[in-house]
């Protein structure tokens, strides 16, 4: 019995390591440029989807966050590189406008720094 439990445990541990630390593909979406503005929607549920958004440098970007999760983890979104912070309402879109001036990769996170999203700014 103990041996079976140990075996199951080892399989579980292996699965945890693979599932959480393995190299899984993440989604990247480029913002849609409409004249002088670029727009992209981010779904907030168990993380930020798409996990990476690609923006064009120099064009103001409208990021619309749609928070579907009531978990307090997602109460806030912090974009320190762009000096923005917002309290996200549940099931209502919330739009933030940022100015991606410099090319580079920037991270943003939830208020508790548990979930992260990426913003790739390309020239």
């Amino acid at each position: 019995m103990e041996l079976i439990v140990l075996l199951i445990s080892l399989i579980l541990i292996g699965t945890i390591v693979w599932w959480f630390f393995g190299n899984h593909q993440t989604e990247t979406v480029s913002a849609e440029v409409m004249g002088n503005i670029q727009k992209v929607q981010i779904i907030v549920e168990g993380g930020y989807k798409p996990e990476t958004i690609r923006l064009k440098a120099g064009v103001p970007a409208e990021l619309t966050f749609l928070r579907k999760s009531a978990s307090s983890c997602f109460d806030e979104v912090l974009l320190p590189d762009f000096g923005k912070q917002a309290a996200l309402p549940v099931n209502e879109p919330y739009t933030l406008i940022i100015k991606p001036d410099k090319p580079g990769t920037f991270t943003y996170s939830c208020g508790m720094h548990m979930f992260f999203g990426k913003i790739e700014v390309i020239s």
Partner: protein
């Protein structure tokens, strides 16, 4: 609901969910502490199920959504903890064994309670910015087409003439064009004493007029005003990232999966190695899952930053980012600009030798005609003295002036000017003359006819608080250096007066940055300047502290901006930075210690000493570890600056 409207899901607020769950949990609590209710374990199932169904989904959904994204968070831990306790109890019920429904329900109630508290305290932590915005006036009384009309703030334009009555809030930034009053600027600048305003003076929006009445012309409106700029700056600072956060971010990525692995290991050690029952091993494993609190780690930095930056903003100390806090803690040397930073920036009469009113009256009467910078200081000192008309005014370049005041030819000027006009200087006065000059003051003689009436000494005097501020900085262990373009004698006299350790004089404005680079090769340096001609030095120094009565340049060029023009705020700003950074470290320390100590206790490592934890209590500890971090950050507001 409109036809086009999106169908909204019915959802309970956090507090509603908490109270409903609490209602169903009370009987379970009764069973846990006092005794069985009729129906026994089945009653426990009946009361626990609504808690799982009503309070659980917010955690289950989030945990599952995160899991699908290959992520894990606090909700993952709560989901695994509660569902394990609940389903194991169902299994146990079917086999007539001991059930743990109360643990599943209590866990959810305790965590909801923690979140309610967190919501309350976090709200308080982020109030500083909102408070600043509430300072604004709602409307303004303006003159339009020669009529006085009250208009909303949004309609205000640059150039509008605004009337401010006693006790009213000043609606926007501008310049006084008529009238006078004392204005309380403490809400914006932190300056406690009301400052006098008369024609030509600038006023700051959101400050409060006291008893007088005046008119001013709006120079800035809307987002351009000082208050708006401060609010924007504080918002950005509060969202900024402190470098220490990077460490925490990398830990939180591994945290939850590692806790899950530890929980599996705990089960195996108890069940496989120590021969405990499945129930006991499972309880330890569940306790490990629910005690771990990644949130406390995540909240440690941002909440302290938010409170510290907000506290500074209310005192006119604007810390521009979290990074500044880490820079400030390393500073050993404080380099200060002289003019306008240590000194008032404008010459004033410091000493008068001879009969005060006579000396000032003659000097000021003559200086009325002069355009020399020192004339302003003399006229300022003679404000309450009646001045005479001057005939035959004459200026002697670099030496002084003369003219007929009353019936006698009078002079104001250097010793040479006096000698050239056969005015003798008694040896006693000559001594005083030299004495004042050695204090780096500009001294002029005042004569009427052939008689020297007295002397006037003029100096760009130190601000009233400079001496105590430098003493405070020295006491705090900083080395103080004055960096100035002025000549050595003047600079050293001022330095001696205020107690500065070292003087670097005769440095051209463009070379100030180079001087900073050289000093920085030895120790970390903070530079304090007024932001107007010091921008390069402010940017070069490890830490730039801009003082500038809220000028745009100062706001842009400093790491820390002091709204008030007071050197004491340098000491306060450094203290606040250190305290805030210290609080971040303390928060992180406790969050780490909590997890490092809590997990082994939960796993039953100390059970031989009788130290074990019930999973529900572990959940309570977990929920309140986040609350305690937020409360610890809030304690920063009690810092005395």
């Amino acid at each position: 609901m409109s036809k086009a409207g999106v169908k909204k899901k019915f959802s309970l607020s956090l507090r509603q969910t908490f109270f409903i769950c609490l209602f169903f949990t009370l009987p379970l609590l009764y069973m846990m502490i006092i005794g069985m209710l009729p129906g026994g374990d089945l009653t426990a199932l009946v009361f626990a199920t609504p808690v799982i169904l009503i309070g659980g989904p917010r955690f289950f959904r989030s945990g599952w959504a995160a899991f699908k994204n290959h992520k894990a968070n606090m909700d993952t831990l709560i989901t695994i903890g509660t569902l394990t306790a609940y389903f194991y109890s169902m299994y146990a019920l079917s086999r007539g064994e001991h059930v743990y429904f109360e643990i599943a329900a209590l866990l959810i109630v305790f965590i909801l309670l923690g979140q309610v508290f967190e919501e309350l305290t976090k709200g308080r932590a982020s109030q500083a910015v909102e408070k600043l915005l509430h300072l604004q006036a709602k409307d303004a009384l303006v003159v339009r087409n020669n009529k006085e009309v009250r208009i909303p703030l949004a309609e205000l334009k640059v150039g509008d003439v605004i009337i401010v009555k006693p006790g009213e809030k000043i609606p926007t930034d501008g310049q006084v064009i008529s009238g006078e009053s004392y204005v309380d600027e403490s809400l914006v600048t932190g300056e406690s004493k009301p400052s006098r305003k008369e024609t030509g003076d600038t006023v700051i929006g959101a400050s409060i007029n006291t008893t007088g009445s005046f008119r001013f012309k709006a120079t800035k409106v809307g987002g351009e005003t000082l208050l708006s700029q401060i609010v924007e700056l504080v918002r950005q600072a509060q969202t900024s990232r402190a470098p220490i956060q990077k460490l925490v971010d990398s830990i939180s990525h591994y945290f939850v999966p590692i806790v899950l692995i530890l929980s599996i290991l705990t089960f195996n050690v108890w069940f496989g190695l120590l021969g405990a029952s499945v129930t006991t091993a499972l309880l330890y494993a569940v306790t490990v899952v629910v005690i771990a609190c990644p949130c406390a780690l995540g909240l440690a930095t941002p909440t302290a930053l938010m409170v510290g930056v907000g506290l500074g903003a209310r005192r006119g100390i604007l810390i521009k980012s979290g990074e500044v806090l880490e820079k400030a803690k390393n500073i050993k040397t404080i380099v200060m600009d002289k003019t306008g930073t240590i000194t008032l920036g404008q010459p004033v009469v410091t000493d008068i030798v001879g009969e005060r009113n006579t000396v000032l009256s003659i000097a000021a009467s003559l200086e009325q005609q002069s355009e020399h910078p020192l004339a302003k200081a003399v006229l300022e000192a003679a404000q309450k003295i009646k001045l005479d008309a001057v005939k035959s005014f004459k200026a002697y370049g670099g030496q002084g002036i003369s003219g007929v005041v009353g019936s006698k030819k009078s002079f104001v000027g250097t010793a040479d000017l006096m000698r050239d006009h056969n005015i003798s200087i008694p040896s006693e006065i000559e001594k005083k003359w030299q004495g004042l000059q050695s204090e780096a003051k500009t001294v002029v003689g005042v004569a009427s006819g052939n008689t020297l009436l007295g002397l006037i000494a003029i100096q760009d005097a130190p601000k009233p608080t400079s001496k105590s501020a430098i003493a405070l900085l020295s006491h705090q262990g900083y080395k103080t250096i004055m960096l100035t373009g002025d000549n050595k004698a003047t600079a050293e006299a001022i330095a001696k007066d205020v107690g500065i350790d070292q003087v670097i004089a005769e440095v051209m404005p463009a070379d100030k940055a180079n001087a900073i680079v050289e000093l920085q090769s030895k120790t970390p340096v903070a530079f304090v300047g007024d932001g107007i001609n010091d921008a390069p030095a402010l940017a070069t120094a490890h830490l730039g502290i801009a003082m500038g009565s809220g000028t745009d340049v100062a706001i842009e060029s400093g790491d820390i901006v002091l709204v008030k023009n007071d050197l004491l705020d340098v000491a306060r700003a450094l203290k606040l930075s250190k305290k805030t950074f210290g609080r971040i470290k303390l928060n992180l320390f406790w969050a780490f210690v909590y997890n490092l100590a809590g997990i082994p206790i939960a796993a039953g490592v100390f059970s031989s000493l009788g130290l074990t934890l019930n999973p529900a209590l572990a959940g309570l500890a977990m929920a309140f570890s986040s609350v305690s971090v937020v409360l610890s950050s809030l304690l920063l507001t009690r810092t005395r600056l």
